[in-house]
Every structure is written in C-alpha cells, then in structure tokens.
C-alpha cells in the first residue's frame, strides 16, 4: 500500500572547512550518510576566498564519484553554489561517504574558508503522523 501517514523533518549536515583542511587532489571525507538517505539539496558556500597563487576549485561528491554533486566551484570567489541533485547518486544504496576534493594549481596561500550544507531525507523514517 502506497499511502503513508508518516512525515519527517528534513535533515541537514553542515560542514565548515578551511583551505588548510583540504590539501590538493585528495578526496577529504566530509560526512557519511546511511543507506536509504536521499539528498534533496544543499549548498557549497565560499565564505572567504583562497589566495593561492593560481586556479583553485572545489568539488563535492561520493567516494566513487567525487564530482557528482558539485564540480569546478571557484574557491577564489565568494559565492554559494547549489548542489546538483539529479541522477542515480542522489539515493544512497548503502552507507556512503561524501567529501570535498580541492584542485589547486599553484602554491598554497593563507586564506580560504567555506561551508558545505547537505540536505537529505531518509526513506522509511517517520517523525510524526498526519492525515
């Protein structure tokens, strides 16, 4: 039966980060999501620009698809980039690790901060009934 009276609160994981946390070319785990989690949205926000010497970008995704939810986000510009939440990766088919990968072409700087927000719901979860 499809009908279900149960509703749930949307969840979010908020992950602040700094340039010194990320290195370059390395998948840095940011959060885990359980099986049946469904990502519904989110933001990758640069709150302080990187002053590294050349191009500097961020990506966000799963271990096996590290650019799946965001790619080529400029770490040298203040902006909020909405996560791309389409495709097969949105629903977690098993316990999943998601992380940020930074690609820094030049030498490291002394600034750069951001906040990652991932919104999700969980299939099978119920917080309160209605109807």
């Amino acid at each position: 039966m499809l009908f279900n009276r149960e509703h749930q609160f949307a969840g979010a994981v908020v992950v602040p980060f700094a340039f010194s946390d990320l290195g370059t070319g390395t998948f840095v785990p940011a959060l885990n999501l359980p099986t049946h989690a469904v990502i519904t949205g989110g933001l990758l926000v640069v709150t302080e620009v990187s002053n590294s010497s050349s191009t500097d970008t961020l990506a966000f995704g799963l271990t096996g698809a590290p650019t799946g939810f965001a790619n080529n986000v400029n770490f040298k510009a203040l902006a909020a980039t909405a996560l791309t939440v389409t495709g097969a990766n949105v629903a977690m088919t098993g316990p999943s690790t998601l992380g940020i990968t930074r690609t820094r072409a030049g030498t490291e700087g002394t600034t750069g901060k951001g906040v990652l927000v991932v919104q999700y719901v969980l299939a099978g979860r119920a917080d309160f009934p209605h109807g």
Binding site: F9, G11, A12, V28, A80, V117
Partner: protein
C-alpha cells in the same frame, strides 16, 4: 585536519503567513521574524495564494531591516497569484540576530474624471493572502547522529 561531521540537524524555517489585513499599507519595513545569529540561509519562496483585489498597485519586498529588498530581486505583485523563489538568500550567513520582514508598496488608483474613459478611484483590498517560507540551518548545531 579532518572536516568530517557526524552531527545532523533539522532544517529550520520561518513561515510568515500574511493577508490583506495584516500587511501595513505604509511603505515601511514591517518586522516579521528574528532569525538567530549563525543562521545559514538555504532559500525559500513567497507564495500569493489568493490575489489581492487592490484597486491600484500592491507589491511586496522581503529582506532584512538593513536591506529590505535583499531577497526579492523585483517586487512581488500581490494582485497575481503565484510562487516566486527568493533571490540572494542562499548561502547568506547571519553574524548576529537579524530582523527579516516585509515592505509593501501600496498605492490606490486616483480618480481622474477628465480621462477618457474616466478613471474611478481604486478601492482597498477585501481579500488576499499568502505566505513566505525562509529555510535555514545553523552553524555549529547538532541535533544528533544519523538516525
């Protein structure tokens, strides 16, 4: 240094219902909610569910006390039903408790009996309602581990 975050939190929202009786008619910022320090805005929308039957101009801006139209790139027409996504809100981080609210641009049509055809004076609205939803999370908040 790890950035891994194991805490999850509920997405919060301020929900601001309004109607033709609760909106002030003067063009001044009308405080609606206080959003806490550390809020990171995710976005939201303004929905006019019942059009205002105002005999003239009736528009709405939404923003902060310091920038009253911060989240409406152009004024919302209250005389037409519809939903408009907030603009400029996603990613904004409040660094202190912040007042958010509405500013109404309300002007009744003036009578002009000399016009062809003559224009009658506009009447105040007798109906009209809507709701604003602004979603946010809080930095450094954790409601618990994954459940």
């Amino acid at each position: 240094m790890s950035i891994a975050q194991s805490q999850t939190q509920k997405v919060q929202a301020v929900v601001i219902p309004f109607d033709f009786r609760t909106l002030a008619t003067e063009a001044a910022f009308q405080l609606a909610r206080l959003v806490p320090n550390g809020a990171l805005l995710l976005g939201g929308a303004i929905t006019v569910s019942t059009a205002f039957d105002t005999g003239g101009t009736d528009e709405l801006d939404f923003g902060t006390a310091a920038d009253p139209d911060a989240y409406t790139s152009s004024p919302i027409d209250l005389t037409a039903p519809g939903t408009t996504a907030l603009t400029g809100a996603a990613g904004v981080i409040f660094t202190g408790d912040t007042q958010v609210g509405l500013t109404r641009n309300y002007e009744l049509t003036e009578a002009d009996p000399e016009a062809e055809p003559p224009v009658e004076a506009g009447e105040p609205p007798t109906e009209g309602e809507g709701v604003i939803v602004l979603r946010y999370v809080l930095l450094n908040r954790g409601d618990g581990q994954y459940q």
